[in-house]
């Protein structure tokens, strides 16, 4: 948010007017999931259990949207073939 709006400019009734996709929760992450594409069987269990909707299936392969991934590791724990490993974020 660049500048705060006055009460005359915001919509009535406390209607939330922006989508939370603007908020990148990826910077919460300490460990990041990395998918080994050779081991991945594309069973989509990680996509199903991801609480942040950050596993994406593009029709050919599964990848992680690091903009929103909070690094909880549920995907790595649930993966039946252990194709996902949690790697420490080393920072920029």
């Amino acid at each position: 948010m660049s500048s705060l709006k006055s009460w005359k400019e915001i919509p009535m009734g406390g209607v939330a007017y922006r989508l939370s996709t603007d908020v990148k929760t990826g910077d919460w992450r300490a460990l990041k999931p990395v998918i080994d594409q050779n081991k991945c069987t594309k069973c989509m269990i990680c996509w199903l259990f991801c609480p942040d909707m950050s596993i994406i299936w593009d029709g050919e392969k599964v990848y992680v949207n690091y903009d929103y991934c909070k690094g909880c590791g549920i995907c790595a724990n649930e993966c039946p073939v252990k194709a996902i490993s949690m790697v420490p974020e080393l920072g920029e």
């Binding site: 603007d22 609480p51 909707m53 950050s54 949207n65 909070k70 909880c72 590791g73 549920i74």
Partner: protein, 352 residues
């Protein structure tokens, strides 16, 4: 109010991975249930958008996500105050891809009743653009067991066509892990601390699903997101019945239950494997029916795990694993066995 455009991440020929659900007026199509995960990923978008501020490893967004795959068409979501409401709609942001309303802590069921009555009235006068609109409530255990119970009971008594989904993380996690009616016996919380005087909460969990069965509403079920197919089927059944329906979904909380974030789904699986949280459904016609993993355990009792399997991964039960507290674990085991045997007697599909 024009909503800002969604970030363009190319998935499947120019389709963004995160979409707001828009239903054209008069659209009659009933969304089918899909159990093939790759098809599901291609054809459905969850009702919850990313960027919500739930803790890493929270199971509540998984409950909402799985439930939204069972929605059949235009739906209005109501949430009671709780973790889910507070962290998905931090003003001016919203994570809901559906029409969503929050009113107050205690009256989620009453708000949903009002919406359902308004839909009926609009339909009667021909002002409703859709064939039917479903109303789904998501509420936590504080908003259901304790604060919102009178509204829920009233909704069930008046027979409004609303599906009420309780995601039960067994304490007031949002305000800092205070005990609720849903907290199990001997669990540590900040208002039932473990010490020399008491070994955690000294009362048992309120059997909320059995209380809803006693209201004799058309559909009551228990579910966990770990058994996702079961959960999706039950949500669809709850939406389809004509009248109030109630689903009790156990949802782990890594901050309050004091377990690692990565085993949030695993711990729910253990809750079902130890029969701490049996999966069943109830309707006036069929009576109690065991489902999914609990039915497997009923047919093959050797699969039933001791309660320690559920307790050992959680920090809130850490004091129970000390040698001097063996007696308390035995009491818990006896309580779990008693409720499980009682359920086996009532369930019509359990082997005798």
């Amino acid at each position: 109010m024009v909503v800002k455009t969604l970030p363009e991440i190319q998935v499947k020929k120019g389709e963004p991975p995160y979409k707001i659900w828009i239903f054209e007026p008069g659209e009659k199509k009933e969304l089918p249930l899909i159990f093939n995960l790759r098809q599901l990923a291609e054809q459905r978008r969850p009702a919850l958008l990313p960027g919500h501020r739930m803790c890493a490893g929270c199971a509540a967004p998984i409950v909402v996500k799985l439930a939204s795959f069972a929605f059949r068409g235009p739906t209005i979501v109501v949430t009671a105050t709780g973790c889910l409401e507070v962290s998905t709609t931090i003003y001016p942001y919203t994570s809901w891809a559906l029409p969503w309303i929050h009113n107050a802590f205690e009256n989620a069921a009453a708000t949903a009743s009002g919406i359902e009555a308004a839909i009926k009235a609009m339909k009667k006068t021909g002002r409703l653009k859709y064939e039917n609109v479903d109303v789904v409530v998501f509420a936590g255990d504080g908003g259901t067991y304790d604060i919102g119970f009178q509204a829920l009971s009233g909704m069930a008594e008046r027979g409004h066509d609303v599906l009420y989904i309780l995601y039960d993380n067994e304490a007031y996690m949002n305000t800092g892990i205070q005990r609720s009616g849903g907290t199990p016996k001997y669990a540590w919380t900040t208002t039932s601390p473990v010490g020399r005087v008491i070994p955690g909460k000294s009362e048992n969990k309120k059997p909320i699903a059995d209380i809803m069965v006693a209201h004799r509403i058309p559909y009551v079920a228990t579910a966990t997101p770990a058994h996702w197919m079961d959960l999706v089927k039950k949500v669809r059944k709850g939406i389809e019945v004509n009248g109030p329906a109630f689903i009790h979904a156990l949802s782990s909380c890594d901050r309050g239950w004091r377990h690692e974030e990565s085993i949030s789904v695993e711990v729910l699986r253990r809750a079902v494997d130890t029969c701490y949280f049996p999966l069943w459904e109830w309707s006036p016609e069929t009576g109690y029916l065991l489902t999914d993993r609990s039915l497997v355990i009923a047919r093959n009792p050797s699969l039933k795990q001791p309660i320690e399997k559920f307790l050992e991964v959680q920090g809130r039960f850490r004091h129970l694993l000390r040698p001097e507290n063996k007696e308390l674990v035995k009491q818990l085991q006896e309580y779990v066995d008693a409720t499980w045997n009682d359920l086996l007697k009532r369930a019509s599909n359990a082997p005798r």
